[in-house]
Amino acid sequence: MKRVLLSFVLLLPLGVAAQVTSTDVQKIMQRDFQTRGQATMDRVVQDGVQRVCTESNDRPPAELAKQMEADQLKTIAFPEGSLIGDWKRGEGIAQSGRGLQWTDPAGAAGGGSCYNCHQLSPQEGSHGTLGPSLLRFGATRGTGPEMQRYVYGKIYNAKAYNLCSQMPRLGYSGTLTPEQIKDLVGLLLDPASPVNK
């Protein structure tokens, strides 16, 4: 009898581990974190995208994902006219890792941290591999209004195209301005950009 009870007790913690929900984690974060500089406590309150992606392990149900992606698309205000900005400025923005951190002064120009994850200009060997290589992006995918819109939108709010993407919502979060995003579009699409040479 005792042996049976003991093995039952042992099985219990193994099989029925305390489930920590995202609501639990959020409460603990609200207790354990503090505002510093521009990094305020509202940032630990999950929005719908963060909540759904956490709870579905980044594999949300297809219907829900489609709906939420459409919602995210609505957050993007596409500028009028050509979206291809200055690729030379774009290269600088892609290199810069600043913006939104508590060590960044509020209001100072941010960067895209693009090279953290992507290959862009072939001359830059120090690039990450978290995201796909963007080498020859414009040369292979085209540079017309549709492609410009896609690239701009993706940088502004990547979640509009892939709900649980690991790519930050650079425009939506306020990290980059519309002008800066246009310059990144230029970096990717302009035939003169080193990305396309």
Partner: protein, 265 residues
């Protein structure tokens, strides 16, 4: 200024693209080179002096501090952290426990003891020196963070949930960078830390001396700086969040022989 000059130098070097495999080999050679002549030992020496130095209103040293193996027992103690401590009724990592001893044994206020937990190259912090010394006494000991006590299980589960929890200004969790094999951020390889085989060599070499900026870094610092770069607000020093993450990582790395404070890029 040195950093600026170093940056200019790097720009010059990387103007010719280097094939990824050659770059990886060079980095390995570099890592070997820096490991063979590391200033880590200097931090251990300073840490030992601080451990023995009487401080605070009680004018006491830390020599009676109980890191889990008995008062003053340092051999293998770090390798068995984080663990539950009855006197604090809490799971604690190394730095949290050091803070506990500073306030109880030495009578120092929490405010004073935590005034400057992270140092810099010209002035490392007391926590950094002490961490180097204490961790070094666990060289060769197998990593064995506590897992039996209910609060230790809680800390592990919280740590695991935190690892995959997406939030912050850039919608990130630890797994955003440390979740997929063979990925790197810029030129820094990213270990998949929720997987045993990748967590083991990492947890066996923290805390660590970072050659690129001549600073000694601890786990509390590492977690703090990750959240900063993930665009979160700041996690509190010695908070349950930070301890839970270290618990999760150390338990995942269980069994790995601790190699002492590491030397990193």
């Amino acid at each position: 200024m040195k950093r600026f000059l170093a940056g200019v130098l790097l720009l010059g070097i990387s103007s010719a693209p280097v094939p990824a495999q050659d770059a990886k080999k060079e980095i390995q050679k570099y890592q070997q080179m820096i490991a063979e002549g590391s200033p880590v030992e200097l931090f251990e020496l300073e840490g030992e002096a601080l451990w023995k130095k009487p401080q605070g209103p009680k004018n006491a040293s830390l020599e009676k501090c109980d890191l889990g193996q008995g008062p003053g027992v340092l051999k293998g103690a770090y390798a068995r952290l984080p663990r539950y401590f009855k006197d604090a009724d809490r799971v604690m990592d190394l730095e949290t426990r050091l803070l506990h001893c500073m306030t109880t044994l030495q009578g120092r206020s929490r405010e004073e003891a935590t005034k400057r937990v992270f140092g810099n190259e010209s002035q490392p912090s007391e926590m950094e020196y002490l961490s180097a010394y204490v961790a070094a006494q666990s060289r060769g000991a197998k990593l064995a963070a506590g897992t039996a006590h209910p609060k230790e299980k809680e800390a592990y589960e919280l740590g695991r949930a935190l690892f995959f929890h997406r939030a912050g200004g850039w919608d990130m969790s630890c797994a955003s960078c440390h979740g997929e094999e063979d990925k790197r951020i810029r030129m820094q390889d990213l270990p998949v830390l929720y997987k045993r085989e990748f967590a083991r060599p990492i947890m066996a070499t923290w805390p660590a001396y970072r050659v690129s900026n001549s600073q000694f870094k601890t786990m509390q610092w590492r977690i703090n700086d990750c959240y900063r770069q993930m665009r979160y607000p700041e996690p509190n020093f010695a908070s349950d969040t930070t301890i839970a993450l270290t618990t999760f990582l150390t338990v995942t790395a269980a069994g790995e022989p601790y190699r002492g404070p590491g030397t990193k890029r």
